[in-house]
Symmetry: C2
Subunit: 322 residues, 2 copies
């Protein structure tokens, strides 16, 4: 839930007039996404999304994100396409913020993904990974091991206030992951945040991916692990192996996982669970009580982490040897 | 900023299928309005707004609000029209809340209204008042004198914590208004909350009125007083007599004010200022710090109240004797 920056009438008029989209007929803040301010814009040329980047996005990363969206769209991935103004510019400024107008993507995100959605997501993720292979910009994953250690340093002293015993549990996991973290696996562009609210469906068919503002270059299978966590657990924290099987099988029909990737999957899933456990703990401890953001429960990801700690093989995720 | 209730996929599918609007293509929470959850819905038949009524709206008042919208639309006022489902029903239930699908109104609300907007608002308000004259349902204004006294009882002990000296200032004003409040003025349906975010414009021309959830039967000139406060002060709290003149002259070209209404205007403006001073003070003192609502500054309305206390005649609002 966002919309942090308010835009003045005059600034908005001048901004919209610099695009070839006709007059504005509606302009409404959208209560989705927590990193940026998003407005749903109706213009004579159709609907668009206007995004103002708030402080959590580094302006120097924007060319990577926007270039990726253009690259993906050109490679057949359904994702928002940045709109160029009359001078050919994508990245603009509005209300003192970096601002981009992007195409509007039809579809709804699914509140409770079913098996068919998990399969659609799996195929879509693999297509995204293949389409990104020849994207030539680079951005490191700042939320991998070194970033987790930095986050832990920031929450170490107060973590037990969020969840009793959390400090020792994270410290132990960080030690384990530091000693065993994967390397040498196929790399490429990963979305790194492909939660259900970033995936649109129409009639149970995937209609598009959005929100590429955590995208970076890292192990492709790590992205699969993020999705295992985000899509294949039930609200009661139980792992739904049927959903995982559907997701992984659909992924592999487009891009088969290597043996090394399969073997690393439980480890990567632990890392992916720790990443969201850490950021949620950080957000919980550092969110101003007056902020207009609903913080998410770190406990959910602690339970997922513990599940993956108990996993002994990728077979526990529903797929057999191959 | 709202969206309190989340809607499950299955419930939404069933709900939308009960209308003759085709399949959903988009469904986004809108970060505007503080009383209800609003979603901008794109369906094959076009855009719509879906409103879920949260706890601040009394379900027994909904037939008045919805009937008024239908009445106004039938009388040429541009306002959202409730959409009937296949069984002819307007008021429905979704996610355990009263729910209504309404037509989408083109236009943008103006962040900083100019003189032309104030004139447009004046004419639109008068047209709304005339159109409501033969609406045959009744709803008392629960935020008039008796309601103000109840609100004051609730904030009396803590008011000075919001603004030092506020308790005595409100008590004195309530005594004055109680002894002098207007009566016998022309009555009808008033909007009672016609702030700039409830009035849409296209190209500086008024394109519609929204949000009738404070509408009630009361003195029409009280509605004018609410708008004087909401539209004719600058951010530095100074009164803009040019905007007031534009608003009142435009109003009077459609519905001339009676002498009694003109004479009562300073008093009504004091009451209208006190009403928002009281509700803002109440909200400030009673909003859970974790709530996803930005509280508004009561000080703004204390300054407006003091301005009207210094007014000696309606001529101070920019219009001459007539």
């Amino acid at each position: 839930m966002a919309v942090y920056t308010d835009v003045s009438d005059e600034e908005l008029d001048v901004f919209i007039a610099s695009y070839d989209i006709g007059a504005l007929t509606s302009f409404k803040g959208i209560a989705e996404g927590v990193e940026n301010s998003n407005y749903l814009v109706h213009a004579e040329a159709g609907p668009f999304i206007l995004t103002l980047y708030e402080k959590r996005v580094r302006p120097e990363d924007l060319p990577y994100f926007l270039g990726l969206m253009e690259h993906l769209a050109a490679h057949g991935i359904s994702c928002p396409l940045p709109v160029r103004d009359r001078e050919g510019r994508i990245l603009r400024e509005l209300a003192g913020r970096p601002a981009v107008l992007i195409s509007f993507l039809e579809g709804l995100w699914v509140r409770r993904p079913g098996i068919a959605h998990c399969a659609g997501l799996g195929a879509g993720l693999a297509q995204f990974h293949l389409a990104g292979l020849d994207f030539d910009m680079q951005r490191a994953n700042d939320l991998s091991l070194p970033g987790w250690r930095e986050l832990f340093d920031e929450v170490r002293d107060s973590a037990d206030g969020a969840i009793p015993g959390l400090k020792d549990e994270i410290a132990g996991e960080l030690d384990y992951l530091g000693a065993n973290w994967a390397s040498g696996l196929p790399e490429g562009v990963i979305h790194a945040d492909l939660f259900p609210d970033n995936v649109f469906f129409l009639d149970d068919k995937l209609s598009g991916l959005i929100d590429f503002y955590f995208a970076c270059n890292d192990m492709l299978a790590y992205d699969v692990a993020v999705c295992l966590n985000a899509w294949c657990f039930e609200p009661d924290a139980s792992f739904n192996i049927t959903k995982a099987r559907a997701m992984l099988q659909a992924y592999e029909r487009v891009r088969p996982l290597t043996h090394a990737e399969l073997d690393a999957l439980p480890l990567l899933a632990r890392g992916a669970a720790l990443r969201f456990l850490l950021t949620r703990t950080y957000d919980l401890l550092n969110t101003d009580a007056n902020a207009l953001v609903k913080t998410k429960d770190p406990n959910e990801y602690l339970r997922k982490l513990r599940f993956h700690q108990s996993v002994t093989s990728y077979r526990d995720y529903g797929i057999g040897e191959h």
